[in-house]
């Protein structure tokens, strides 16, 4: 698990973005390819932290799980009880057994080799 994403509705997005940027001593930076996403580079955090403008949906956190094999990891997580929400662009959206959202994403973080665990 590499990232926590703060999913905030449009009407409180700016206040929420500024809050987390200040709280974690970062500076918010829009992600060019995906204008709904905002990064918090170098945040005071063990995990990566980002924000997403989710329009009129209700505020929530979601988390990203990174893997070097998205298809295999999604199959494995489905076997553990993950429920399909959407297959999109480069990532896959699922719910855990309590209904919480998470994404499975291709590995990208510099700590992947150090902090991931091999699936046997």
């Amino acid at each position: 698990m590499r990232e926590v994403v703060v999913d905030a509705p449009s009407d409180t997005f700016a206040a929420t973005r500024d809050f987390w940027a200040g709280a974690l001593l970062s500076h918010a930076r829009e992600v060019e390819e995906f204008p709904e996403f905002t990064a918090l580079p170098g945040a005071a955090s063990l995990s990566w932290v980002g924000l997403q403008d989710i329009g009129t949906a209700e505020a929530r956190f979601h988390v990203d799980i990174e893997t070097d094999d998205v298809d295999a990891e999604v199959l494995r997580l489905t076997g553990l009880g993950a429920v399909k929400v959407a297959d999109g662009r480069t990532w896959v959206v699922r719910r855990d057994p309590s209904g919480l959202l998470f994404d499975v994403v291709p590995h990208e973080s510099p700590w992947f080799d150090e902090r991931s665990h091999e699936v046997s």
Copy 2:
């Protein structure tokens, strides 16, 4: 920000705990002092990950922010827009401007010196 906590209702708690333990290749361990909490030691994650049984409330994630001065950090976060929920035991519960829950907790993680940022 050091921890992501999966807050799951009692009726899906066991399935949710087993899902995240399997997903992050850990083994769930109850926290002795606080029986509603379950830790996932050594999880495949950049941040710490834990679970909390929240009874009949709705599933959600919350995050923990750790600091070497809880009172000062809570004051600072209040100035940034945090809203009071509860002051309890050793931690403090607040909401961000979009309504999301987070705790402010005393520092404990071994990465605190390396990954925290000094507030000027």
